[in-house]
């Protein structure tokens, strides 16, 4: 392994440790169990979307629609609850809607042969528009106590539910991508789709499956976001797409596909989560976030390309 590749693999850990140390020294509110738990709950949606994005990027595709789909699904959830549909039914419908949106993104990309960044840019426009149309640009409160408790405060084995769902999502995607035939096939498709097809991988079905999976993870993320914000509001999670792509890229994934690891995405997402939390604690202008994260992605992308180029 070249020095650059080693740097690429260690840089996220080093940056995460440095960031934690920095925030711990600059704010007495940062490094305590309470805040860490808050941080984990607040970043649950990001984590789940980033896990899905890892698989999408592993294929060499992208999904730009998350920060519009999550608010749309939250709005749908809030309206369903308001209309008197019980929380299990509402949650199930939101999950179905998420899977359907994923299937739409995947179907248009795979069978329509449209580049995924165009498809998801289109879904983003449609989802944003729909969320505003459905609500009239007003946030719809979620008042169902059971739902709010279950998806936000409740604990399983002492762990908050959002954290449990993140752990399950992580383990699921990890096992799927690293331990199953499905995962190996995804890697093969990402590295060279034609070669994968020639060696008998059902390329179209696998690509579609990844987009559907992404839709499902996004929907679970939306349920958690709805419970955390106690409302369905259009325009509520504006930096989600940025954060999720940043998490995957910081993890050293290749944007050409074929190389992306969900355990590294976890480190990347933790870095973004710590950054979000710490910047708020330090009262840093929230608008500077885009700039800081943009520069971080820039550095990660250049480092990844330099490391890969040096190896070839």
């Amino acid at each position: 392994m070249t020095a650059l590749a080693r740097l690429r693999d260690l840089a996220p850990w080093a940056a995460l440790l440095a960031l934690v140390a920095f925030f711990a020294l600059s704010s007495e509110h940062f490094l305590n169990l309470r805040n860490m738990e808050r941080l984990a709950i607040d970043s649950a949606t990001l984590m789940l979307v980033a896990f899905g994005m890892t698989l999408v990027i592993l294929l060499g595709e992208i999904d730009l629609s998350s920060s519009a789909v999550v608010p749309l699904l939250c709005v749908l959830l809030a309206l369903l609850l308001q209309a008197g549909v019980g929380w299990p039914g509402a949650a199930a419908l939101v999950l179905l809607a998420g899977l359907a949106i994923g299937a739409l993104n995947g179907g248009l990309t795979v069978f329509g042969q449209i580049p995924s960044f165009i498809v998801t840019l289109g879904t983003m426009a449609v989802a944003t528009g729909l969320a505003y149309i459905l609500t009239g640009a007003i946030s719809v409160p979620i008042l169902d106590e059971t739902f709010l408790r279950l998806f936000y405060d409740a604990r399983i084995l002492g762990l908050p539910v959002p954290l449990v769902l993140v752990i399950l999502g992580f383990l699921g995607v990890l096992v799927l991508s690293a331990r199953t035939r499905f995962g190996h096939e995804l890697r093969a498709i990402g590295a060279n789709a034609r070669a994968a097809a020639l060696s008998g991988v059902p390329v179209a079905r696998r690509r579609l499956a990844v987009f559907v999976l992404m839709g499902g993870l996004t929907a679970v993320g939306a349920l958690l976001a709805g419970a955390r914000l106690a409302s369905g509001a259009p325009g509520s999670v504006q930096t989600l797409t940025l954060d999720a792509i940043a998490a995957v890229v910081i993890g050293g994934a290749s944007l050409f596909g074929g190389r992306a690891f969900v355990q590294r995405t976890l480190v990347g997402a933790a870095l973004i989560a710590v950054l979000n939390n710490g910047l708020v604690l330090l009262n840093v202008n929230i608008n500077a976030q885009y700039l800081i994260k943009g520069l971080i992605i820039l550095a990660a992308v250049v480092l990844e390309r330099a490391a890969t180029g040096a190896r070839e």
């Binding site: 992208i62 730009l64 248009l108 329509g112 042969q113 449209i114 580049p115 960044f117 165009i118 498809v119 840019l121 289109g122 879904t123 983003m124 426009a125 449609v126 944003t128 528009g129 729909l130 505003y132 149309i133 940025l242 792509i245 944007l255 050409f256 202008n285 929230i286 608008n287 500077a288 976030q289 885009y290 700039l291 800081i292 994260k293 943009g294 520069l295 992605i297 820039l298 992308v301 250049v302 390309r305 330099a306 180029g309």
Partner: protein, 312 residues
């Protein structure tokens, strides 16, 4: 020429004629001279962005950063104006646009990053610059001559913004269809490998296209703030999608190599008339978003379908 092939080539013109005829028949408010002038004023920004995007798409690339870069250029110009810098705002805006264009180009040729990722990085950074400078507020300034020069002034009843569009179209049309640069662009978009084997300076062409687009976004930023007399970070949000929509509606192929500037002009006219018609019919902005999102994906699908027909 079969009917299907005719539709594939000139469908945009047909759609435009039908739409104009339909609106003119239904709405007396549509067929006034003031309304036509109004459409011209409204499409100036989209027209310049779509013209630049035509070059990018013809070269086989994409630029997702145009809206954010135009916004950032406008904000920087407004900061200069508010500080009493006067006309220095013009080179400042152009430099911001050009800088991001060069960043895009260099990321694509040196780091070898796919252009949708390179320009997504610029999108985030430009948005960060604009948000940080404005701190989420509106920057006000007074500069009547500058505003008149770029937007509010008029020559013989034609607004300055529209005149800028005409100038840009004339220059870009000449560059694309009358110069070696334009011819090389088509070769590059058709097949980068062939372009390289023909001895074309592929990398230099790519950087030139992104730099050109960036520079024009500096101009768009100036028109943007001149039109309304203040600057906001989200002033041109979504412009990239509208520009891609206009180019694709016109029939220029995603993936590069085939298309023309007049096609994008027709696409811009179609979107301009569509927005105007929807506004006259009292549909709100979000309905327009949904319509555009669906339209783009539908058109790309139809384009794929007709291509398959032509190949078969």
């Amino acid at each position: 020429m079969t009917a299907r092939r005719f539709l594939a080539r000139y469908g945009v013109v047909l759609a435009l004629v039908l739409l104009v005829a339909g609106l003119a028949a239904v709405s007396p408010a549509f067929r006034t001279a003031e309304n036509l002038v109004g459409i011209g004023r409204q499409v100036a920004i989209l027209g310049i962005a779509a013209a630049a995007m035509t070059f990018v798409i013809l070269a086989g690339e994409i630029d997702l950063s145009v809206g954010a870069v135009a916004g950032a250029a406008g904000v920087v110009a407004a900061v200069v104006l508010a500080a009493g810098g006067g006309w220095a705002a013009v080179p400042a805006a152009l430099a911001v646009g050009l800088g991001f264009g060069l960043l895009n180009g260099c990321l694509v040729i040196w780091a070898g990053v796919p252009s949708f990722i390179a320009t997504l990085v610029s999108f985030f950074i430009a948005q960060g610059v604009a948000l940080t400078l404005t701190a989420g507020q509106t920057i006000r300034f007074s500069a009547d001559t500058l505003r008149a020069t770029f937007a509010t002034g008029a020559v013989a009843g034609v607004s300055a913004a529209f005149l800028w569009l005409l100038v840009v179209l004339a220059v870009l049309g000449w560059a694309l269809h009358r110069t070696r640069f334009g011819a090389h662009l088509y070769v590059l978009g058709g097949s980068a490998q062939s372009a390289r084997m023909l001895g074309l300076a592929v990398d230099r062409l790519r950087v030139a296209v992104f730099a050109l687009t960036g520079g024009l976004m500096g101009l768009v930023g100036l028109i943007l703030i001149s039109r309304i007399g203040n600057a906001r970070a989200d002033g041109a949000i979504g412009l990239e999608f509208d520009a891609i929509a206009a180019v694709v509606l016109g029939g220029t192929a995603l993936g590069g190599g085939t298309g023309a500037l007049w096609r994008s002009v027709a696409g811009v006219a179609l979107i301009g008339v569509l927005n105007n018609g929807l506004a006259i019919l009292n549909a709100d902005f979000n309905v327009q978003q949904v319509v555009k999102g669906v339209l783009v994906i539908a058109v790309v699908l139809i384009a794929r379908w007709t291509q398959t027909v032509e190949r078969a």
